[in-house]
Amino acid sequence: MSQAAATPVLDVRDLVTRFETRAGPVHAVNGISYTLHAGESLALVGESGSGKTVSALSLLGLVPPPGRVEGGRVLLNGRDLLGLSRRAWQDVRGKEIAMVFQDPMTSLNPVLTVGRQLTGPMRRHLGMSRRAAEDEAAALLARVGIPDARERLSDHPHRFSGGQRQRIVIAMALACRPAVLVADEPTTALDVTIQAQIVALVRELQEELGTAILWITHDLALVAGLVDRVAVMYGGTLVEEAPVDDLFARPSHPYTRGLLASLPEGSAGTGPLPTIEGRPPDLLDPPSACPFAPRCGWVEQRCRAELPRLRPVAPGHASACWRWEELGGAPGEVGASVEDPGEEPR
């Protein structure tokens, strides 16, 4: 898990993705950059509308029209994916980078057997024969915890529970041993108990296969035990990036502090959970100022005039806030009043 001189498996630089709508261009992703090394896992955290899912889709070239990746580079093992031909994309997807989506009830084709869906990518990417692919598929199913794997290959998705279907999807994604797995909120649609199981499963598989994982979520607590680093996204940009322990110990952006403060696990006592007032930006114009300014308790003139970019604030830790030093140690309240600098809660 060394982050040192090894070439990152995934190197995203200034990714920009826009949607041409009738109301104007919506800047869903506004120049984000991060890297992922082999065997590493990164959590991309943000609320709905932060652009995290769009950024993930951009990695696989699956942004639906009227969206388009407009700029930046996505280097997978050194090779820029943006600009690949359709054919080339088909070779890369599923084989070198794979994705797991949020809703397991609709992610699988209802009229094809699970075996057929599992063997499809394997036969396509690895040139396996039907026999070999079926053997491998059965092994995969067993590995992800489906009992009687061999017989179950000829079942259709509706014969499986939601949690099982998500396991199957994960198996499918990892079947060709891709270098990177992008998981877009794979547990959000599942029961809480199942969520933990899926997280554990992914962790095991990661250790076994050495896959790099990008885990997209809005639930920071869920992935705290799984990932190495966290990147926090807001309004289409990254506002903070840090190793997971550092993030919890020394959050260096007001939004991050707000997120952490609103976690049930982190609150002390029985008072109401703090919330972040206000709503996410509508992303219609490219931000020329800090996108969080309208909701920030530490906002000042400079925040509204200049867009802060990610700057290192500690080893491996970056923040996009002009006032990061003043934010203090433990996470606290963000503050409702916009002009108030906000207090340092205990």
Binding site: L60, L62, R86, W89, Q90, D91, V92, R93, G94, K95, A98, M99, F101, D103, T106, S107, L108, N109, P110, V111, L112, G120, P121, R124, H125, H156, H158, V169, M172, A173
Partner: protein
């Protein structure tokens, strides 16, 4: 299914009873000479003096055993006459069905995959045309263009006099089958197009693409399998229309099937024959609906186990 068949038989029996002057009354009215023995046999058979439900029971009982009565105009058993001409109609309907299925499949799929292209617009235009065009007029126009002006295709009958080759017969089949199928090419291709477009928006298609499957597999295997399901049931429901269309098509192209026989029987007020054909047509529809249900179950695994 049995209640349905019973219901159909009741309705058809009622229709015949409703003929002005009663079923045999129409005979006498027609002013043609009909062998008195035939009339008497008909009366006896129907038990005209008996109460209605007895008549019905007797008629039904006979029909179930294959006895559909005797034709007024030819004094031959109706069942025999029908069986004679049935193959020709089945051939026409079958050819039209196949043609429509193949064309609709191609048109619908291509239109969906190339949505909003000129091909798609053309296809939609053709579809509207096909649905709005009266079958008989389309037949007439094709006869005019291909038979008279261009002289490429024959316009009547199942074969040129004296010729017995399959090729000649098939040539005669082309125009009638084309005419009969047009309406359904239009309807089915439109339906397939929208069904396929809907299927392509599904999440599992996104998964398939994310796994790097080539687009032709995504569309051809993943999307189509789902999209075809509702289309198949529409195809079965349209079979009733195919039979109706055959009545007209056979008349225009002098195709010797039961459709043509039906129209001729109409002018002759040959009620036993008319009834027999109506009954057969309904039976065909019911059978094909059953087949469609089975096909649906076969195609959609979710209901297979119900």
């Amino acid at each position: 299914m049995v209640p349905l068949l019973l219901g159909i038989s009741i309705v058809l029996f009622a229709v015949i009873q409703a003929a002005p002057g009663g079923p045999e009354g129409a005979l006498l009215e027609s002013g043609r000479f009909i062998d008195p023995e035939v009339i008497e046999a008909y009366r006896v058979r129907l038990g005209v003096d008996q109460p209605v439900h007895v008549q019905y029971a007797r008629w039904l009982g006979a029909a179930v055993q294959g006895d559909l009565g005797v034709s007024f105009s030819t004094t031959r058993p109706v069942a025999e006459m029908i069986l004679e001409r049935l193959p020709a109609t089945l051939e026409l309907m079958g050819a039209a069905f196949l043609l429509a299925a193949v064309l609709a499949f191609g048109l619908g799929t291509l239109s969906a995959v190339r949505q909003y292209s000129w091909f798609d617009h053309l296809g939609t235009g053709v579809s509207f045309l096909g649905i709005a065009m009266p079958v008989f007029w389309f037949g007439l126009i094709l006869q005019l263009v291909f038979g008279v002006w261009l002289g490429w295709l024959p316009v009547a009958g199942t074969g040129t006099v004296g010729a017995t080759s399959l090729g000649d017969h098939l040539l005669h089949l082309v125009l009638p089958a084309l005419v009969l199928s047009f309406r359904y090419v239009a309807g089915w291709s439109r339906y397939l197009r929208s069904s396929l477009l809907q299927a392509l928006r599904a999440d599992y298609i996104r998964t398939a693409r994310a796994m790097g499957l080539p687009e032709r597999v995504v569309v051809g295997v993943h999307a189509l399998r789902n999209a075809l399901i509702p289309v198949v049931s529409i195809m079965a429901l349209n079979l009733a229309g195919l039979f109706s269309g055959a009545v007209i098509t056979e008349t225009i192209f002098a195709w010797p099937g039961i459709g043509r026989m039906f129209v001729q029987a109409m002018f002759a007020r040959d009620y036993p024959l008319l009834m027999g054909i109506l009954l057969l047509g309904s039976l065909m529809v019911v059978v094909f609906n059953l087949v469609a249900d089975l096909a649906y179950g076969f195609l959609d695994p979710r209901i297979r186990y119900e």
